[in-house]
Amino acid sequence: MSKMVTPDLVTLYLTLVPYLLERGEVSVVEAARDFDVSPAQMRSMVEKLTVIGMPGEDDYFQMPNEMFDINWDLLDEQDVIEITQSVGLERSPRLTAREAAALIGGLRLAASLPGVAGGEVLAGLLAKLSRGAASAPAEVVVVPEPVDAVRTLVSQALRDQVALSFTYRRPDSEPTTRTVDPVKVIVTEGQWYLQGWCHLRRAMRNFLLERVSDPRLTGIPIAHGHEPVPGLFEPGDDDEIAVVRFADELAPLVGDYLSGAETTTAGGITTARLRVSDARTLKRLAARRAGRVEVLEPAGARRAAADWAAEALALYGESS
């Protein structure tokens, strides 16, 4: 790990001292893990703690009881930290307003998940975080999304550790019936995904919950919860290559499609080679962005984008 900058180091010490005092004896390894530093760094930090102390005349006449001290034998022989003398910093400091704001925002999101924290727990924690901050934190709120039967049942399956079955419809393909050992619900940018082991595909898969219907609990205990899980937008083995073009500043709107894409930029225009499981579904992206994201290849996908818009316009009495 790289050298720590001064503010981070100071913050760390202000928390490390109360942490060590509270626990009495802690192994170097455990403390290193809790503070996300290497064991060597933790050891060196604890050793340096002994140069911290009360004001004095000069180094040789400073009284030993006015400095932090540790149990050196315990550290040298057993790699265990114990503070034997403290001269302040005994209590955890208040949270900074930023720390409180980050936790409050996260808490608002976490509490919107079914069964994680009730209204009373949420209100109690919000009050404690605000009161425990050095100054009033910026309010960061998350408007809770409506929780429907699908989300509730998926959460239930996770808690009960049983498989669930449902109908899954990917856009532009036939619905399939899936039985899935649920592993995790991922909530990102307002979208809920179920990660789990699919009995049909015999592999870990991600399912967008909005495409799930008719869910039911099966009563089959989960058996494949520990296999490696693919990333949310990881390319699959049988992906197609598609080429799209858009103005550079639109890249954020193309979003997750660009993970793993090869892009080239010239004259303010980005051309990206994407990996997608079905290139024809790019017609949806093209329509969403009013053609400002243009599908170039394959030709079938480009045609599909034109047809998609034309068919929709026909609903409004416009023929092409």
């Binding site: 100071v10 928390t15 808490l107 999101l109 960061v140 419809r169 954020p252």
Partner: protein
């Protein structure tokens, strides 16, 4: 041993010294006695004084409450000022405690940020709470909520809210050619359907407004003006309420192909109508983007403005993709 005391250790010595004093220490006393200063305290003291001023600012940035006790006759005269850290303002209040279940919820809350500095803030905050020595329940597994912040305006707006500072930014409304400068009192940051907004009081329009962070162009500029912190009280709750009211007013009537992607994704948000479904929305342009993506799976019956916006997008998409050049 102490000939090369690093900045971090010097600042920690300063904290220990200022917490141990009730009446406070003068700058002179600090430079002469606190380890890290006293070893360099010979000859000209300008550099050392500057170092002390910097340390003081750094520590205040970390939330350490350094109090300045000035001359009561002349508060601007800081030559004889005394400095201290009141324990009551430094310590996490003694009556705040957390149950093991609460710490488990906070651990989940602390894990949601994918952006570096917010994630770091959450982690250091959580560590302070954990240092209280609370037993922790089993971690909450099975849920991985994630919060993404792509907009560079998020951090400066958060800081402006915290400092009750009026800010200005250029804001580009969809359909307008050029961005317009807005001057606002920012009150709360609001995530709605995965998009960040700032709830603010627009100074020129003299009214409450919601601004989408993704439509802020360029930098958020702090001004010299502050505002009354009272304005912030309950702002998050009020913003959520007003978003709900806007959504209720902006109800679209849609006809949707059963079993399609559109039907699946709109059903959860909508209520069945005699012919089609009613779906509330907050921002016409964002909703039109979504509806356009569904192509022929959805037809907008009303309102007319939404219908026009969707048709507009479809026409452009069609035009772009029927031009030659696809084989480029």
């Amino acid at each position: 041993m102490a000939e090369r005391i690093q900045a971090g250790e010097r600042q920690l010595n300063l904290i220990v010294a200022l917490m141990a004093t009730e009446i406070g220490l003068t700058k002179q006393q600090i430079l002469e006695s606190v380890s890290g200063y006293r070893q360099r305290n010979e000859g000209r003291s300008d550099a050392l004084e500057k170092m002390f001023e910097r340390d003081k600012d750094d520590l205040r940035d970390l939330g350490v409450p350094i109090e300045t006790i000035g001359d009561s006759a002349d508060p601007n005269d800081l030559r004889e000022a005394r400095y201290r850290i009141p324990k009551a303002e430094y310590d996490l209040p003694a009556d705040i405690s957390f149950t093991p279940a609460e710490v488990a919820v906070l651990a989940l809350a602390g894990s949601v940020w994918s952006e570096g500095s917010l994630s770091k803030d959450a982690t250091t905050g959580l560590r302070k709470i954990r240092a209280l020595g609370i037993e922790v329940d089993e971690p909450i597994i099975g849920f991985a909520p994630r919060m993404t912040v792509r907009e560079p305006s998020f951090a400066p707006l958060r800081d402006a809210i915290e400092a009750c500072r009026v800010v200005a930014f250029d804001y580009l409304k969809p359909g307008e050619e050029t961005p317009r400068r807005r001057t606002v009192r920012p009150l709360a940051l609001v995530d709605y359907e995965g998009r960040w907004h700032v709830a603010a009081h627009d100074v020129d329009a003299d009214g409450h407004r919601m601004f989408l962070l993704s439509r802020i162009v360029g930098d958020v500029l702090p001004t010299r003006k502050g505002f009354d912190p009272e304005l912030r009280v309950g702002a998050g709750e009020r913003a959520m309420q007003s978003l709900r009211e806007v959504a209720e007013r902006n109800r679209a009537l849609l006809e949707v192909t059963p079993g399609s992607e559109a039907a699946l994704r709109l059903a959860r948000r909508g209520t069945p109508a005699v012919q089609g479904i009613h779906v509330p929305f907050v921002d016409l342009h964002i909703f039109a983007d979504e509806l356009a993506s569904y192509g022929p799976e959805v037809r907008v019956v009303e309102p007319p403005a939404l219908r026009e916006a969707v048709i507009e997008r479809l026409r452009s998409a069609l035009a772009v993709h029927t031009e030659a050049g696809g084989a480029a």
